[in-house]
Subunit: 176 residues, 2 copies
DNA sequence: CAATTTGTTCAATAAAAAATGAACAAAAAA
DNA sequence: TTTTTTGTTCATTTTTTATTGAACAAATTG
Protein backbone atom coordinates (compact mmCIF):
# COMPACT_ATOMS: atom_id res chain seq x y z
CA UNK A 1 0.00 0.00 0.00
CA UNK A 2 2.72 2.45 -0.96
CA UNK A 3 1.09 5.55 -2.39
CA UNK A 4 3.75 7.65 -0.74
CA UNK A 5 3.83 11.26 0.41
CA UNK A 6 1.38 11.82 3.29
CA UNK A 7 2.33 11.21 6.93
CA UNK A 8 0.72 8.00 8.18
CA UNK A 9 -1.01 9.18 11.33
CA UNK A 10 -3.66 6.59 10.53
CA UNK A 11 -7.31 7.19 11.38
CA UNK A 12 -9.41 5.63 14.22
CA UNK A 13 -9.00 1.93 13.94
CA UNK A 14 -7.94 3.25 10.57
CA UNK A 15 -6.86 1.38 7.41
CA UNK A 16 -5.94 -2.15 8.41
CA UNK A 17 -6.31 -1.36 12.08
CA UNK A 18 -8.63 -3.47 14.20
CA UNK A 19 -11.04 -1.45 16.32
CA UNK A 20 -10.99 -2.10 20.07
CA UNK A 21 -12.99 -5.15 21.11
CA UNK A 22 -15.41 -4.98 24.07
CA UNK A 23 -12.95 -6.44 26.55
CA UNK A 24 -10.27 -3.99 25.51
CA UNK A 25 -12.71 -1.12 25.84
CA UNK A 26 -13.73 -2.14 29.34
CA UNK A 27 -10.23 -2.79 30.59
CA UNK A 28 -9.00 0.52 29.24
CA UNK A 29 -11.94 2.22 30.88
CA UNK A 30 -10.92 0.68 34.20
CA UNK A 31 -7.40 2.03 33.90
CA UNK A 32 -8.66 5.44 32.87
CA UNK A 33 -10.82 5.62 36.00
CA UNK A 34 -7.88 4.58 38.07
CA UNK A 35 -5.68 7.20 36.48
CA UNK A 36 -8.13 9.94 37.39
CA UNK A 37 -7.98 8.90 41.03
CA UNK A 38 -4.20 9.09 40.84
CA UNK A 39 -4.08 12.30 38.84
CA UNK A 40 -2.40 10.73 35.81
CA UNK A 41 -3.22 11.76 32.24
CA UNK A 42 -5.86 9.77 30.45
CA UNK A 43 -3.69 9.02 27.44
CA UNK A 44 -1.13 7.25 29.60
CA UNK A 45 -3.84 5.13 31.16
CA UNK A 46 -5.19 4.23 27.74
CA UNK A 47 -1.80 3.13 26.54
CA UNK A 48 -1.12 1.06 29.62
CA UNK A 49 -4.59 -0.46 29.50
CA UNK A 50 -4.24 -1.61 25.93
CA UNK A 51 -0.76 -3.00 26.47
CA UNK A 52 -1.98 -4.76 29.61
CA UNK A 53 -4.81 -6.62 27.93
CA UNK A 54 -3.09 -7.20 24.60
CA UNK A 55 -1.78 -10.74 24.13
CA UNK A 56 1.15 -9.53 22.06
CA UNK A 57 3.53 -6.60 22.17
CA UNK A 58 2.35 -3.58 20.21
CA UNK A 59 4.26 -0.99 18.17
CA UNK A 60 3.59 2.68 18.76
CA UNK A 61 1.92 2.79 15.42
CA UNK A 62 -0.85 0.50 16.55
CA UNK A 63 -1.43 2.37 19.79
CA UNK A 64 -1.87 5.56 17.80
CA UNK A 65 -4.28 3.99 15.35
CA UNK A 66 -6.43 2.04 17.76
CA UNK A 67 -6.56 4.58 20.59
CA UNK A 68 -6.72 7.63 18.32
CA UNK A 69 -3.76 9.31 19.94
CA UNK A 70 -1.40 11.79 18.40
CA UNK A 71 2.16 10.74 17.74
CA UNK A 72 3.30 13.11 20.44
CA UNK A 73 1.06 11.71 23.14
CA UNK A 74 1.98 8.16 22.26
CA UNK A 75 5.70 8.84 22.24
CA UNK A 76 5.63 10.77 25.50
CA UNK A 77 3.24 8.38 27.18
CA UNK A 78 5.40 5.39 26.32
CA UNK A 79 8.48 7.09 27.63
CA UNK A 80 6.70 7.95 30.86
CA UNK A 81 5.55 4.36 31.28
CA UNK A 82 9.03 3.06 30.61
CA UNK A 83 10.58 5.45 33.13
CA UNK A 84 8.04 4.25 35.65
CA UNK A 85 8.87 0.64 34.86
CA UNK A 86 5.30 0.01 33.74
CA UNK A 87 6.19 -0.81 30.15
CA UNK A 88 9.19 -2.34 28.44
CA UNK A 89 10.35 -2.68 24.87
CA UNK A 90 10.30 -6.00 23.09
CA UNK A 91 12.20 -7.06 19.99
CA UNK A 92 10.03 -8.60 17.32
CA UNK A 93 11.84 -10.50 14.56
CA UNK A 94 11.37 -9.14 11.07
CA UNK A 95 9.83 -5.88 12.19
CA UNK A 96 11.98 -2.88 12.70
CA UNK A 97 9.48 -1.02 14.83
CA UNK A 98 9.95 -1.05 18.58
CA UNK A 99 7.25 -3.06 20.29
CA UNK A 100 6.01 -2.50 23.81
CA UNK A 101 4.46 -4.69 26.48
CA UNK A 102 3.01 -3.94 29.90
CA UNK A 103 4.97 -4.76 33.03
CA UNK A 104 2.36 -6.01 35.44
CA UNK A 105 4.19 -6.59 38.69
CA UNK A 106 2.10 -4.46 40.99
CA UNK A 107 4.67 -4.32 43.75
CA UNK A 108 7.35 -2.63 41.69
CA UNK A 109 4.86 -0.50 39.86
CA UNK A 110 3.21 0.90 42.95
CA UNK A 111 6.54 1.28 44.66
CA UNK A 112 8.02 3.36 41.90
CA UNK A 113 4.89 5.37 41.49
CA UNK A 114 4.67 6.22 45.17
CA UNK A 115 8.34 7.03 45.33
CA UNK A 116 8.08 9.30 42.29
CA UNK A 117 5.04 11.09 43.68
CA UNK A 118 6.38 11.38 47.17
CA UNK A 119 9.89 12.31 46.29
CA UNK A 120 8.90 15.04 43.86
CA UNK A 121 6.36 16.53 46.23
CA UNK A 122 7.81 15.99 49.68
CA UNK A 123 11.52 16.18 49.01
CA UNK A 124 12.55 18.57 51.71
CA UNK A 125 9.55 18.41 53.98
CA UNK A 126 11.75 16.86 56.66
CA UNK A 127 14.14 19.79 56.60
CA UNK A 128 11.26 22.22 56.55
CA UNK A 129 9.70 20.62 59.59
CA UNK A 130 12.99 20.86 61.44
CA UNK A 131 13.25 24.50 60.51
CA UNK A 132 9.71 25.21 61.66
CA UNK A 133 10.51 23.52 64.95
CA UNK A 134 13.14 26.14 65.70
CA UNK A 135 11.09 29.07 64.38
CA UNK A 136 8.23 28.16 66.65
CA UNK A 137 10.29 29.07 69.71
CA UNK A 138 10.30 32.69 68.66
CA UNK A 139 6.54 33.02 68.79
CA UNK A 140 4.89 34.98 71.64
CA UNK A 141 3.48 32.93 74.57
CA UNK A 142 -0.12 32.14 73.63
CA UNK A 143 0.66 31.20 70.09
CA UNK A 144 3.82 29.31 70.90
CA UNK A 145 2.11 26.82 73.13
CA UNK A 146 -0.44 25.87 70.49
CA UNK A 147 2.09 25.89 67.68
CA UNK A 148 4.40 23.51 69.51
CA UNK A 149 1.57 21.05 69.80
CA UNK A 150 0.75 21.35 66.12
CA UNK A 151 4.32 20.88 65.01
CA UNK A 152 4.56 17.78 67.16
CA UNK A 153 1.46 16.54 65.41
CA UNK A 154 2.97 17.19 61.99
CA UNK A 155 6.06 15.26 62.93
CA UNK A 156 3.97 12.37 64.12
CA UNK A 157 2.04 12.40 60.85
CA UNK A 158 5.25 12.32 58.91
CA UNK A 159 6.51 9.39 60.92
CA UNK A 160 3.33 7.42 60.38
CA UNK A 161 3.39 8.10 56.67
CA UNK A 162 6.91 6.72 56.51
CA UNK A 163 5.94 3.66 58.53
CA UNK A 164 3.13 3.04 56.18
CA UNK A 165 4.94 2.91 52.89
CA UNK A 166 6.76 -0.41 53.28
CA UNK A 167 3.61 -1.95 54.65
CA UNK A 168 1.54 -0.86 51.72
CA UNK A 169 4.13 -2.20 49.36
CA UNK A 170 4.23 -5.53 51.14
CA UNK A 171 0.51 -6.01 50.84
CA UNK A 172 0.50 -5.02 47.21
CA UNK A 173 3.37 -7.40 46.67
CA UNK A 174 1.21 -10.34 47.72
CA UNK A 175 -0.75 -9.99 44.52
CA UNK A 176 2.45 -10.86 42.61
CA UNK B 1 -13.92 52.86 60.60
CA UNK B 2 -17.30 53.22 58.87
CA UNK B 3 -16.78 55.19 55.68
CA UNK B 4 -19.40 53.02 54.02
CA UNK B 5 -20.01 52.03 50.40
CA UNK B 6 -17.18 49.85 49.07
CA UNK B 7 -17.14 46.08 49.50
CA UNK B 8 -14.61 45.02 52.13
CA UNK B 9 -12.55 42.47 50.24
CA UNK B 10 -9.62 43.74 52.27
CA UNK B 11 -6.12 43.84 50.78
CA UNK B 12 -3.15 41.51 51.55
CA UNK B 13 -2.73 41.51 55.26
CA UNK B 14 -4.83 44.59 54.58
CA UNK B 15 -6.08 47.27 56.96
CA UNK B 16 -5.89 45.93 60.50
CA UNK B 17 -4.93 42.49 59.26
CA UNK B 18 -1.75 40.87 60.58
CA UNK B 19 0.51 39.51 57.83
CA UNK B 20 1.43 35.83 58.05
CA UNK B 21 4.28 35.13 60.46
CA UNK B 22 7.18 32.86 59.42
CA UNK B 23 5.75 29.79 61.10
CA UNK B 24 2.41 30.26 59.44
CA UNK B 25 4.08 30.70 56.08
CA UNK B 26 6.07 27.50 56.47
CA UNK B 27 3.20 25.41 57.73
CA UNK B 28 0.94 26.61 54.95
CA UNK B 29 3.67 25.81 52.46
CA UNK B 30 3.81 22.28 53.83
CA UNK B 31 0.09 21.78 53.34
CA UNK B 32 0.23 23.26 49.87
CA UNK B 33 2.92 20.77 48.88
CA UNK B 34 0.85 18.00 50.34
CA UNK B 35 -2.20 19.16 48.41
CA UNK B 36 -0.31 18.98 45.14
CA UNK B 37 0.56 15.36 45.81
CA UNK B 38 -3.10 14.67 46.45
CA UNK B 39 -4.39 16.76 43.59
CA UNK B 40 -6.29 19.19 45.80
CA UNK B 41 -6.58 22.90 45.00
CA UNK B 42 -3.98 25.18 46.54
CA UNK B 43 -6.52 27.55 48.08
CA UNK B 44 -8.05 24.75 50.12
CA UNK B 45 -4.63 23.76 51.42
CA UNK B 46 -3.87 27.35 52.37
CA UNK B 47 -7.09 27.65 54.31
CA UNK B 48 -6.55 24.39 56.13
CA UNK B 49 -2.94 25.24 56.85
CA UNK B 50 -3.76 28.57 58.45
CA UNK B 51 -6.61 27.12 60.49
CA UNK B 52 -4.35 24.28 61.57
CA UNK B 53 -1.59 26.47 62.94
CA UNK B 54 -3.80 29.27 64.25
CA UNK B 55 -4.30 29.22 68.01
CA UNK B 56 -7.81 30.59 67.75
CA UNK B 57 -10.76 30.08 65.40
CA UNK B 58 -10.79 32.42 62.43
CA UNK B 59 -13.67 34.08 60.58
CA UNK B 60 -13.78 33.85 56.79
CA UNK B 61 -12.97 37.50 56.69
CA UNK B 62 -9.55 36.94 58.18
CA UNK B 63 -8.74 34.03 55.88
CA UNK B 64 -9.54 36.26 52.91
CA UNK B 65 -7.41 39.12 54.17
CA UNK B 66 -4.37 37.20 55.30
CA UNK B 67 -4.26 34.62 52.50
CA UNK B 68 -5.34 37.03 49.77
CA UNK B 69 -8.18 34.86 48.61
CA UNK B 70 -11.36 35.92 46.90
CA UNK B 71 -14.61 35.64 48.80
CA UNK B 72 -15.68 32.89 46.45
CA UNK B 73 -12.63 30.72 47.01
CA UNK B 74 -12.84 31.16 50.75
CA UNK B 75 -16.53 30.32 50.93
CA UNK B 76 -16.19 27.29 48.67
CA UNK B 77 -12.98 26.10 50.26
CA UNK B 78 -14.49 26.25 53.73
CA UNK B 79 -17.52 24.33 52.64
CA UNK B 80 -15.33 21.68 51.06
CA UNK B 81 -13.29 21.35 54.24
CA UNK B 82 -16.41 21.09 56.35
CA UNK B 83 -17.90 18.41 54.10
CA UNK B 84 -14.64 16.52 54.43
CA UNK B 85 -14.72 16.89 58.19
CA UNK B 86 -11.44 18.81 58.11
CA UNK B 87 -12.88 22.04 59.51
CA UNK B 88 -15.72 22.88 61.84
CA UNK B 89 -17.54 26.04 62.82
CA UNK B 90 -17.07 27.58 66.24
CA UNK B 91 -19.29 30.07 68.03
CA UNK B 92 -17.46 33.11 69.33
CA UNK B 93 -19.31 35.25 71.84
CA UNK B 94 -19.98 38.81 70.83
CA UNK B 95 -19.08 38.29 67.17
CA UNK B 96 -21.71 37.42 64.67
CA UNK B 97 -19.31 36.08 62.11
CA UNK B 98 -18.94 32.31 61.83
CA UNK B 99 -15.51 31.19 63.01
CA UNK B 100 -13.70 28.11 61.81
CA UNK B 101 -11.11 25.78 63.28
CA UNK B 102 -9.18 22.85 61.86
CA UNK B 103 -10.15 19.31 62.76
CA UNK B 104 -6.85 17.53 63.13
CA UNK B 105 -7.76 13.90 63.75
CA UNK B 106 -5.77 12.29 60.97
CA UNK B 107 -7.61 8.99 61.11
CA UNK B 108 -11.01 10.44 60.30
CA UNK B 109 -9.57 12.92 57.89
CA UNK B 110 -7.66 10.41 55.84
CA UNK B 111 -10.54 7.99 56.02
CA UNK B 112 -13.04 10.41 54.64
CA UNK B 113 -10.65 11.65 52.02
CA UNK B 114 -9.85 8.17 50.77
CA UNK B 115 -13.48 7.19 50.78
CA UNK B 116 -14.43 10.31 48.85
CA UNK B 117 -11.69 9.76 46.28
CA UNK B 118 -12.29 6.06 45.94
CA UNK B 119 -16.04 6.17 45.88
CA UNK B 120 -16.23 8.88 43.28
CA UNK B 121 -13.65 7.25 41.05
CA UNK B 122 -14.18 3.53 41.53
CA UNK B 123 -17.87 3.30 42.24
CA UNK B 124 -18.81 0.47 39.92
CA UNK B 125 -15.42 -1.01 39.17
CA UNK B 126 -16.53 -4.23 40.89
CA UNK B 127 -19.49 -4.61 38.57
CA UNK B 128 -17.34 -3.72 35.61
CA UNK B 129 -14.83 -6.38 36.47
CA UNK B 130 -17.59 -8.96 36.78
CA UNK B 131 -18.90 -7.94 33.39
CA UNK B 132 -15.48 -8.17 31.82
CA UNK B 133 -15.09 -11.63 33.27
CA UNK B 134 -18.03 -12.85 31.22
CA UNK B 135 -17.09 -10.93 28.07
CA UNK B 136 -13.67 -12.49 28.07
CA UNK B 137 -15.16 -15.90 27.32
CA UNK B 138 -16.29 -14.68 23.92
CA UNK B 139 -12.78 -13.89 22.74
CA UNK B 140 -11.05 -16.15 20.18
CA UNK B 141 -8.60 -18.76 21.52
CA UNK B 142 -5.22 -17.03 21.58
CA UNK B 143 -6.49 -13.84 23.08
CA UNK B 144 -8.85 -15.48 25.54
CA UNK B 145 -6.13 -17.37 27.31
CA UNK B 146 -4.09 -14.26 27.97
CA UNK B 147 -7.09 -12.12 28.82
CA UNK B 148 -8.32 -14.60 31.43
CA UNK B 149 -4.99 -14.31 33.19
CA UNK B 150 -5.09 -10.55 33.10
CA UNK B 151 -8.59 -10.34 34.46
CA UNK B 152 -7.61 -12.65 37.29
CA UNK B 153 -4.78 -10.28 38.00
CA UNK B 154 -7.10 -7.29 38.07
CA UNK B 155 -9.37 -9.05 40.52
CA UNK B 156 -6.44 -9.84 42.73
CA UNK B 157 -5.35 -6.21 42.64
CA UNK B 158 -8.80 -5.10 43.61
CA UNK B 159 -8.84 -7.52 46.53
CA UNK B 160 -5.49 -6.30 47.80
CA UNK B 161 -6.53 -2.69 47.53
CA UNK B 162 -9.56 -3.44 49.66
CA UNK B 163 -7.48 -5.30 52.19
CA UNK B 164 -5.16 -2.35 52.43
CA UNK B 165 -7.59 0.40 53.29
CA UNK B 166 -8.41 -0.55 56.88
CA UNK B 167 -4.77 -1.23 57.53
CA UNK B 168 -3.70 2.15 56.31
CA UNK B 169 -6.35 3.79 58.41
CA UNK B 170 -5.27 1.88 61.49
CA UNK B 171 -1.68 3.01 61.18
CA UNK B 172 -2.73 6.60 60.58
CA UNK B 173 -4.99 6.32 63.58
CA UNK B 174 -2.01 5.69 65.85
CA UNK B 175 -0.99 9.30 65.39
CA UNK B 176 -4.19 10.29 67.24
C1' DC C 1 -37.37 51.45 57.93
C1' DA C 2 -32.61 51.87 55.39
C1' DA C 3 -27.83 50.82 55.71
C1' DT C 4 -24.35 47.48 56.75
C1' DT C 5 -22.32 43.14 57.48
C1' DT C 6 -21.84 38.36 56.41
C1' DG C 7 -22.00 34.94 53.41
C1' DT C 8 -23.43 32.02 48.99
C1' DT C 9 -23.80 31.19 44.12
C1' DC C 10 -22.43 30.96 39.66
C1' DA C 11 -21.07 32.97 35.03
C1' DA C 12 -16.82 34.74 33.42
C1' DT C 13 -11.83 34.61 33.49
C1' DA C 14 -7.31 32.98 34.44
C1' DA C 15 -4.11 29.40 35.16
C1' DA C 16 -2.50 24.80 34.72
C1' DA C 17 -2.27 20.45 32.45
C1' DA C 18 -2.66 17.57 28.51
C1' DA C 19 -2.89 16.71 23.58
C1' DT C 20 -1.72 17.93 19.00
C1' DG C 21 0.95 18.06 14.90
C1' DA C 22 4.75 20.21 12.31
C1' DA C 23 9.62 20.15 12.10
C1' DC C 24 13.25 17.48 12.51
C1' DA C 25 16.73 13.41 12.88
C1' DA C 26 18.25 8.75 12.34
C1' DA C 27 17.98 4.40 10.35
C1' DA C 28 16.49 1.33 6.71
C1' DA C 29 14.89 0.31 2.19
C1' DA C 30 14.73 0.97 -2.62
C1' DT D 1 21.64 8.31 -3.37
C1' DT D 2 16.91 9.27 -2.67
C1' DT D 3 12.78 7.90 -0.45
C1' DT D 4 10.31 5.98 3.20
C1' DT D 5 9.62 4.54 7.80
C1' DT D 6 10.05 5.22 12.65
C1' DG D 7 10.36 7.98 16.26
C1' DT D 8 11.38 12.44 19.24
C1' DT D 9 10.86 17.19 20.49
C1' DC D 10 8.61 21.16 21.52
C1' DA D 11 5.76 25.46 20.33
C1' DT D 12 0.93 25.91 19.82
C1' DT D 13 -3.82 24.72 20.81
C1' DT D 14 -7.31 22.54 23.39
C1' DT D 15 -9.27 20.98 27.49
C1' DT D 16 -9.74 20.92 32.24
C1' DT D 17 -9.51 22.90 36.68
C1' DA D 18 -9.32 26.65 39.88
C1' DT D 19 -10.15 31.42 41.02
C1' DT D 20 -12.43 35.61 40.79
C1' DG D 21 -15.87 38.99 41.61
C1' DA D 22 -20.56 40.71 40.70
C1' DA D 23 -25.19 39.77 41.90
C1' DC D 24 -27.89 38.37 45.28
C1' DA D 25 -30.06 36.90 49.95
C1' DA D 26 -30.45 36.85 54.80
C1' DA D 27 -29.47 38.52 59.09
C1' DT D 28 -28.19 42.45 62.04
C1' DT D 29 -27.72 47.09 63.41
C1' DG D 30 -29.00 51.81 64.07
Amino acid sequence: MSVGFQDKTVAPGGPGMAPLNPVEVEVIHLFVQFSRALGQPRSVAEIYGLLFISHRPLPMNELIGRLELSKGSASQGLRYLQDLGAARTVYVAGDRRTHYEAVAELRNLAGRFLRQQILTHFQDSGARLAHITTQVEKLPGEERKHAIGRVKMLRSWEKNAKRMLPLVLRILGNGR
